[in-house]
Amino acid sequence: MPTITIDGQTLEVNKGDNILEACLNAGLDLPYFCWHPAMGSIGSCRQCALVQYQNENDTHGRIVMGCMTSVTEGARFSLDAKNAVEFREAVVESLMLNHPHDCPVCAEGGECHLQDMTVMVGHRDRRYRGSKNTHRNQYLGPLIHHEMNRCITCYRCERFYRDYAGGTDLGAQASRDRLYFGRQQDGVLESEFSGNLVEVCPTGVFTDKPFLADFSRKWDLQSSPSICGGCGVGCNIAPGERYGRLKRIHNRYNHDINGYFICDRGRFGGGYVNSKRRINFAGLQGTDGSFAAINQEAALSKAQTWMQNARIAGIGSPRASLESNFLLQTWVGSDQFSAGFSDAEGSILNRQIEILQSTRAMNPSIKQMESADAILVLGEDLTNTAPRVALGLRQAVRNKSLAMAEQMGLPDWQDAAVRNLAQDALSPLIIVTSYSSRLDDIALHTLTLTPNEIAEFGCNIAARLQGKPAHNALIDEIAECLSGAKRPLIISGSSMLQGNIIESAAAVAEALCEHNANTMLSLCAPEANSVGAAMLSQATNLSLSNIVEGADDIDVLVVLENDLARRLDPASVKKLVESGTKIIALDVLENTTLDHSTLVLPAASFAESQGTLVNNEGRAQRFFSVFPPAHDRLPSWQWLLQLATCSGSSQLSALTHFDEVVDACAASRPIFANLSEVAPDRSFRDRGQKIPRQTHRYSGRTAVNAAVSVHEPQQPIDRETPLAFSMEGLNRDQPAALTPYVWSPGWNSNQSLHKFQAEVDGPLKGGSAGLRLLVSSTKGVQKLSLTTPVSEKSDLWQLVPVHCLHGSEELSRHTDEIAELAGDAFLTLSIATAKELDVDEGDRISVAGCGDTISLTVKIVERMAAGCAGYSIGFASTRELTTGAEVHLQRDIAWQPLKPSLIASDRDSMHIGGVNRHV
């Protein structure tokens, strides 16, 4: 570790760091703008200037940029030197020449890095007498608001959007003091990660549009450490609430998983929490099918009358917490419990858990995936099924360029230089899918195969790796590429609902493990707690179809946060409903299952409850309520405890508090033994106090409800967690799982994160959040014999599921902006198929042979496996379609194109003067 001197203070610093990093690590406040811990340095803003001295006799020194200067043994610096201080102030003064004085009406105000840095350098008085440059703003879609006049030209937006996230439709235009960052013309930003611009921009150019429409200042938000429910990756998020509304979601740093960035589903998909379709009170269905609202006691007593001496079955949910699922299963008994997966998905996920526990390959975090030097993706369109993993792979393919840089002695943080050196050199990524994926642009090879062929292809690679000649140059090449890699990564998952794809992925990984202990195998799961639910599964569990078939014998069926219409075909749903079984459904939003339930119980959303979710890698993570549930909503775990008591069951009678549920779950099975360590229990105190959800500057705490009542209510008491619905206490160095937001004196923006990190870009001071429950083994995956049915040539098309970031996930699609972006359900076809069927992009096509004939909008993609058509899964109108079904396709002759109509946000753009030209 080199030793350097800064203003006479001797510091041991990390070899290979730059001085800015060294300063921040030492707790020194060196201002910066363009540098970003995940994106490195380009030296554009010139803000992190300090003076470097040649030696101890050099008293003059010269100004250098901290972010562009490597630490070297014995180097001497000063932050406090007069010329450095003056220069840093001069930079801010220059940036402020054109920056509007609109902080009071800017959404960034109060968490603006530019405000912080302006105060930090001490700039106050304006000397510039010229006029300010102004720009025209663009309409960028329903998620991001654009206000170019505020731009300080740090290039962070372009560097994140294009260089880091692979987006192409945003960049720098023009030059000198007329630089402009935006699209070529108005339009919706295409990147699935566009929302990160909100946090990457050091000022208010890119702001959260839905938040802007329902705005509160950062200091007025109540936040909690939470976990995204959008997919199986388990990104850490920090939702913020005020006035009982979920206002916005920010990234919450997790060193191993999401780092600094989350996808747009995660950031913007929480709007359903405020939806008008939320269930506020218990509802009892009358004979006419309508629901009457009843209070909690009435609901429970109704349930009690049904449950006396009744046969009670339960259906769990892969989107409900581990605790809720555990309680339901324990209460009704494992032989009366279904995990709540569709039959196809259930068997795949169970096998997935089996593989992850027996494979010799490492089951990597995203951070570990980013170290891969050769990647094989089997079957997954990752950007839509595990978006944050896809973003990680974009970083992994840069490892080749980082290796080239290392060879030249170029530090990895020299971002522009590394990119210039490597040009388009990428580490190999091979994508084998049934249709185009959003990572195709960085792939060395893309192969387009039917689901069965994907599995077969994977097995052929595995066989080739084991020495069996392939007689196929491409398989040879891919096998050599993987076996030649230091850290090969195989990724697959359940999104195609094709178990043998996962088998083949495991086989490839196992074959690589023969010679390489650093082989990684990652399997994506669809929902936030799919893995957790699968881990809870027991051999005695029922499948959903078991439940449907045996429905006549079930008196009461308790359905936990699960819309069965998404898992069962319509005929089965009908059969279940008509069986006469009393259905008690607990859920957050109206859905088909609730429509058919006898009793509906209002469940708290993720933002109003707590629980544990297990992600793709088997990492258990705890989410905490952001605000207390309103109306008669209760967290599902509390409903279940009460229902169990009502039913006369003694199984759960000892449990009252959440922590006790966790302990019981931990005791139930060895695999959950450490569950209590996922996060501190409710007794945790930091210096005698709870962790505050509210900031120290939270305003109007006692007056916030004055419009309703002038009586000052007591702050709600949180009896279940170590967090308080209050502002007292410290938010500083508690365990990482308990960090609700980042804020530090002088650092009001999210850039204060470095004060919470043990070192720049390192884990949090509070350690790593989450706990790995699944561990690899030394025994290896037991091979299952694959059944690959030979598809017969016919005039039928095989349906494959197409997952959409916006639209496929159940809850987020009830957010207005997400619904707008999701658009209509669609069918994707290859160019050749479209030609054959005489349809064009946007036309409608009839799909027959799978339930009722339906009409879908055509989307044409570059890659689609022969004989296959993709349907947008998770959309209401594709509910009848099932994966693997063979269907007739025909141009919908009844359909006539509508005259072009404007969607809501297009009208907005017209309003601001934007011109929508056809691209």
Partner: protein, 171 residues
């Protein structure tokens, strides 16, 4: 975007000759976007400027996004993203010409043509733009009119060049 569609779009926007010329440039760059500036110049050569349609067509041909190409196009002084007249007057406003009264000459030209920098005459014959030093300082003040370098400018010379176009451009 599919290959077929690209082809249709290109054929309707870029000419065969333009595509051939771009292909020639592509022969000696390692990846297509490397020929971005050449392609912009090729397309501008005959048309005078690069329209949105052209920009988008070139971007697709070079497998770049329109944003990426727009970033390049708007960086350079000699790529025109707005229509220009038949001839562009590149008037040197740098120091040696300034010392030799280029401001006065420029005022005279503006007067004769009825346009300031960035403007195009009503008859669409000329667009007037400033240009950095043209490297003919020993013959200052200078300008380019279309492809011709015109040196030793004075009011009489300018009158001779543009005098007859004045009437046509009076409002």
């Amino acid at each position: 975007m599919t290959q077929d569609m690209i082809q249709t779009d290109l054929n309707s926007v870029l000419s065969h000759e333009e595509i051939q010329a771009i292909d020639a440039e592509l022969a000696h760059v390692p990846y297509k976007s490397g020929a971005a500036i050449d392609a912009l110049k090729i397309v501008q050569a005959k048309r005078g400027w690069v329209s949105d349609d052209c920009l988008i067509a070139i971007a697709r041909y070079l497998q770049m996004s329109a944003e990426q190409l727009e970033g390049v196009a708007t960086f350079y002084n000699l790529i025109y993203r707005r229509p220009v007249g038949e001839k562009v007057i590149l008037f040197c406003d740098s120091v040696s010409c300034w010392i030799s009264n280029s401001d006065g000459i420029k005022a005279k030209i503006s007067d004769l043509l009825g346009i300031d920098y960035g403007g195009t005459t009503l008859d669409n014959r000329y667009t007037l733009l400033p240009v950095p030093c043209l490297g003919a300082c020993d013959r200052a003040p200078v300008m380019m009119v279309g492809e011709d370098l015109v040196t030793h400018l004075d009011e009489a010379r300018v009158q001779l060049l543009f005098g007859q176009t004045t009437e046509a451009n009076k409002d």
